[in-house]
Structure formats: C-alpha cells, structure tokens
C-alpha cells in the first residue's frame, strides 16, 4: 500500500504541475534565437608620395670646370629619400624631369655655348627596376614601372649622367641659377 501511494502521489504531482516539470528540464536548443548583422566598409585605392628628406633640393654647386668652362665630369649630389611612401593597391611609379636651364640667361646661347644641362633622374626602391628618365632622351620607356601589390617603403631619388645639351665640347653660359625639377608620381591602379 505504501508503494502504491507513492506512485499515485508522483502521478498527481506530474499532472498538477506540468510547468514545474518542464522548468526543471534543460531547455532544448530550439529555445534559442539568433540574428545576424552585416558590417561593410571600403578602403579606397590611394597613394602617398612620402616625405622628402632634406630641403628638397639637389644642390650641385658649381657646374663647370673653372679651367675649361665646360661641364664638370664629377658632378654629383646626395640622393633624396621619399620616406613612408605607400599605395594601398597595385600601383605605378613614374619619374619625370626637366633639364637644368639657366634661369637668367634665357636667350639662345651663342655659338660654342649652351645654357642647358641634361641628366638622368631615377626613383628606386618601389619596383624591381628603378623608374628612370633622361631629360635629353627622345623617349623614356623606363620612366614608368608597375607594381602588382600594395606597398610601403622609402623611395630613393637620384640624379646622374650629366651632359651638356648640344655636346660635351660646349661651354655653359654664366648664370647664378641653373634649375631643373624632378617629379616622382605614385599612382594607384584599380
């Protein structure tokens, strides 16, 4: 009799308190709900040319051999750096330059003289081959070089291979200021 009473009591409790019985169970996985929120954004292709070291000038000093009046053969200037240059995508680097020209003596140079000095400008460190541009060349196929990946680094800008326009035998007209410009361009390629 005691056993039967116990069974009856359990049955009664189950019938009377179904909620309590469920609450005691571990909730099934279906009791869970999820929602997904998407997040998007863009980073555009962009390039930064970097910060130029020094005062931004290649100072070649006196251009001529004072004994001959002709262009010095040992002209040089320390390289410049474009520090922290980067492109966030594949890119191209292009170097261009204008010859050194007398800024005050603007008339045509007399026979035997020249008022223009050509040179080669190069930008290295961005691509396997440096971009080069010769101010005296008819064309400069190597002026633009391509890179297939995003990149950041320093670009070394150099000038070299100086030559007198019109021929090495010409003398340069006297002028306190010969000036040219080297331009390095980084371009993102989509």
């Amino acid at each position: 009799m005691r056993r039967q009473a116990a069974i009856f009591s359990a049955l009664l409790a189950a019938l009377a308190l179904p909620g309590s019985a469920l609450a005691a169970e571990a909730p099934a996985s279906g009791d869970t709900d999820s929602a997904t929120v998407g997040i998007i954004g863009t980073v555009p292709a962009m390039c930064f040319g970097g910060t130029l070291t020094g005062d931004g000038t290649f100072d070649l000093g006196v251009l001529v051999d004072l004994t001959t009046g002709q262009l010095r053969t040992d002209l040089s200037a320390p390289n410049k750096l474009l520090v922290g240059s980067f492109c966030t995508s594949r890119s191209s680097i292009t170097v261009s330059a204008t010859p050194l020209e007398a800024q005050n003596y603007t008339a045509a140079a007399p026979n035997g003289f020249s008022r223009v000095v050509h040179y080669q400008a190069s930008a290295a460190g961005w691509t396997a081959l440096p971009a080069t541009y010769n101010t005296g060349a008819a064309s400069n196929a190597a002026a633009t070089q391509s890179r297939s990946t995003a990149f950041t680094g320093d670009i070394t800008v150099a000038i070299s291979n100086f030559s007198t326009a019109g021929g090495a035998s010409l003398r340069l007209v006297g002028d306190p200021s010969y000036r040219g410009v080297v331009t390095v361009t980084l371009a993102a390629v989509n």
Binding site: S29, D31, S34, T36, I39, T42, T88, A150, T152
Partner: protein, 192 residues
C-alpha cells in the same frame, strides 16, 4: 423462506453505484498543457551597417584607419518567456575581399567591439582581435543572466574600430558579421 431477507441484502450491496448515480455529485477532470521555453530576437534594424570609408583620406593618418563613430543596431521586442536567459555575441572582424597576404606594413582586417545591452545587467561584449592577414577574426562573449522572463529592445553597439598594429589598410571592400544569440543561460557555456 428464511433465506429471502438475506438475498435482498446482497443485491443492494452489489449495486451501490446505481443508487448513487441517481443523486447530484461533482466530478473532476484535469486540464493540462505546456508552454515551451522560447526566445525570439527582433529583426535587426538595420540588418546591414555600412561604415563607409574605413581609412583616412588626408592628414598624418592617411591610409590608416579613420575615426569611425559607433553604430547602433536595435533588435526590437526581443523576448524570452522563461527565467535564466542570456545574450551572447559573436563578432567577426571586417576583412578585405582581397584575400592575398598583405605586404609588410599593411593590414587587411578591421577589429571592433560589439556590445549588446538592455537585456541583463551589464552588457554582452565581444572584441575581435584579427591579425593583420585577417586570420583569427572571430571573438565571442556573453553577459549576465536575466533572472526573469523579459521582453525588451536589445541594443547592439559597434565601436572601437581599429586596424591590427594600426597598419595601413589595403584597398578593397571589407565585410564582417555580428551574430547575436538569445537563449538559456546554459547555452553559452556549452561551447566552452
């Protein structure tokens, strides 16, 4: 004949129910049902968060991650009909659609913190910590247990956007996800 009165007594004793049915009486019928424990999340509004441009356009931080204002997503009228529920958050960092390994100095991931509030005390928070190559993008977290059945608008806040190492971000379209889960308190621990 002496036996007849004894027989009549036996008959009466054999049909007592018939005699009772002819009187007023009350019976009890049990009625039972169930209410399953349920949690329902409201549809996220908005379901897609567009952060726009992630990198700075100019200034000293050009190319690096810009200052991105926090964004808020609401999951309205979310509820659980039982005591002991919890919100968990699984956040996946934004990564670029360009899956190639980034060059040195670059990152292709944007990390952030996803935080769900207004369910229990405190928040359910996950902060992603993807590496610069976009690996290990996912992080999870959950908050305190809600001790009562509850219905409320859950607020999901996305904030603290950063790039691994504060590196320059490679160009591309970036995407990530946040999964908000509402369920029994035991649920978040099942994966642990």
């Amino acid at each position: 004949m002496k036996c007849k009165p004894g027989l009549a007594l036996i008959v009466l004793a054999a049909f007592p129910a018939t005699a009772i049915a002819q009187t007023t009486e009350t019976g009890t019928v049990a009625v039972e049902g169930q209410v399953r424990p349920v949690c329902v999340l409201g549809d996220p509004n908005p379901a897609l968060v567009n952060l726009g441009q992630l990198s700075a356009n100019s200034g000293p931080r050009t190319g690096r991650i810009a200052v991105i204002a926090p964004r808020t997503v609401t999951l309205p009228a979310s509820y659980c009909n039982f005591a002991g529920s919890v919100v968990s958050v699984t956040a996946t960092a934004l990564t670029s659609n360009d899956t190639s390994a980034p060059q040195p100095g670059f990152a292709r991931a944007v990390n952030y913190t996803a935080s769900a509030s207004n369910w229990a005390s405190g928040t359910s928070t996950a902060t992603t910590a993807a590496l610069r190559d976009g690996t290990v993008p996912t992080a999870s977290g959950f908050g305190a247990t809600q001790p009562l059945p509850k219905i409320a608008d859950i607020t999901l806040t996305l904030s603290s956007f950063t790039a691994p190492g504060d590196l320059i971000l490679v160009a591309g379209n970036y995407s990530g996800t946040v999964v908000v889960t509402l369920g029994p308190a035991a649920f978040p621990n099942e994966d642990n």
